[in-house]
C-alpha cells in the first residue's frame, strides 16, 4: 500500500470524524476542536496533491504547500476568535449553550437591571 493511499485514508477519516464531532458534540469548545480536525484533514489532502505534483527536483509542488501554510495561519486566527467569543458568552450568561431558547432566557434575565 503506497504512502499516498494510507495518508489519503487518514485525511478523509479526519474530515469525517471532524464533521461528526461538529454535528454531535453539544459543547462549543468540542465543536471548535472537531472543526480544527476537519480542517487538518482538508490540509492533508492539499499535502497529498502537493506530493503527487513532485517535479523539477522538488519533493512536492510548492504552491499547495504555501497555500496550506496560509490556511493554518487563518485557521488559528479564526480559532482564537471563536474561543474568545465562547469565553465571553460563558462570562456574560454563565452558560455555553447554543440553543436559541436557552440563551434568550438568560439574556432577558441579565437585561433586567
Amino acid at each position: 500500500m503506497s504512502a499516498m493511499i494510507i495518508f489519503a485514508i487518514c485525511a478523509a477519516a479526519a474530515v469525517g470524524l471532524g464533521l461528526f464531532g461538529v454535528i454531535t458534540n453539544p459543547h462549543p469548545l468540542r465543536k471548535i476542536l472537531s472543526f480544527n480536525i476537519l480542517g487538518s484533514g482538508v490540509f492533508l489532502i492539499f499535502g497529498i496533491v502537493a506530493r503527487r505534483g513532485a517535479a523539477a527536483g522538488f519533493g512536492g509542488d510548492p504552491v499547495p504547500q504555501a497555500l496550506v501554510i496560509t490556511g493554518i495561519v487563518v485557521a488559528i486566527s479564526a480559532t482564537a476568535l471563536a474561543v474568545a467569543l465562547l469565553l465571553r458568552l460563558f462570562e456574560a450568561t454563565g452558560s455555553v449553550t447554543l440553543r436559541a431558547d436557552a440563551s434568550a432566557d438568560t439574556s432577558e434575565d441579565r437585561a433586567a437591571p
Binding site: 459543547h27 522538488f58 496550506v68 480559532t79
Partner: protein, 315 residues
Amino acid sequence: MTTATAFNLGLAVLVMVLACWTVLARGAFAATVGFVAYGLLLAFIWIRLGAVDVALTEAAIGGGLSGVLMLGAAARLRASEALIAAETIAAGRRLWAAALSAVTALALVTSVLLLPDPAPTLAPAAAENAAATTLGNPVTNVLMAFRALDTMLEKVVLLLALVGVWSLGPDRFWGGRLGPRHRVDPEGMLVFLAQLLPPAGVVVGIYVFWVGANAPGGAFQGGTILAAMWLLAMMAGLTDTPPSGSRRARLVLVAGPSAFLIVGLGGLWLGEAFLAYPLAYAKALILGIEFAMVPTIAVTLGLLLAGPPDRSAQS
C-alpha cells in the same frame, strides 16, 4: 511490507486514534490533550509528505499555540460541562450524522484516488522562476513572491482576528491590560522553564526565520516560536501583557502589513504591478518584508492568545 510503509501505517493509525479520541472523549480537557498530541503527530505526516515547511508550521501552531489556547479555554470552561451534558442529541440523529460523515470521508478517499495521472503541478514553473528572487526555498518563493498577495492578506486576517478578540472586552476595560493576570508559584516548575527556555527559544526562532530563505523555515514559523516564548514568560508571571491601548504594541502590530503594503505600492508606482519587486532588489526586499513581519507575527499571535482586555491598564 517495507519499513517505510510500516512506519507510515503506524503513524496513520496513531493519528486516526487520536482524532477519534479528540472527537469522542468524555471531558473537554482530555479531548484537548488528545488534540495537542494529534497536532504534533500530524507534523510527522507532513514530513513524510515531503513538506517540511508545513511540518514546522503545524508543529508550532497545531501542537503548540492552539494547544495553549484550547487548554486555557478548557480550564476556564470546566464549570460549563456539567450544564451542557444534558444536551446530547438523540441516538437516531447521531446515526444520521455518522452516516453523513462516513459518506463524506468515502467520497473524499475515492476522489483522491481518482485524481488525474500525471498530476498537474506548478513545481517546474516555480523552479524556472526561482532565479528571479535567488531564494533557495521554493515555498518561501511562492509565499513571498509568486503569491505574495495571499501572504499579505493573511497578515491582515491575523490583525482583523485580533481586532475581533479585543472588541469582546467589557467597555470599562477598553485600553486595559489583556487577559487575566497569571499568578504562579515563584519557586515552581513553570517559572523555572520560563527562565530556562526563552534564551534558547529566541535564538531558534530567529534562526528559523533567517534560514527560511534557502531551507525549510520562514517568517511565520520563526515568529510563532518567538510568540510561544513570550507566552511562556507571560504565563509564568515573569512579564505582564501590554495594555491594548499601548502605542508601542500597536505600532509593532501594524509594522509588518504596512511594510508589505508599502513595498507593494512601490511596485505599482515604480514597477509593473502591485507587489512586483524590481529584479535587482527582489531578495533584499523580500528579506526586508520578512524582517518587519517577524515581530508583528510574534506579537499578534501572542496577543491573540492572551485574550481581550480584562483589567484596567494600572492593575
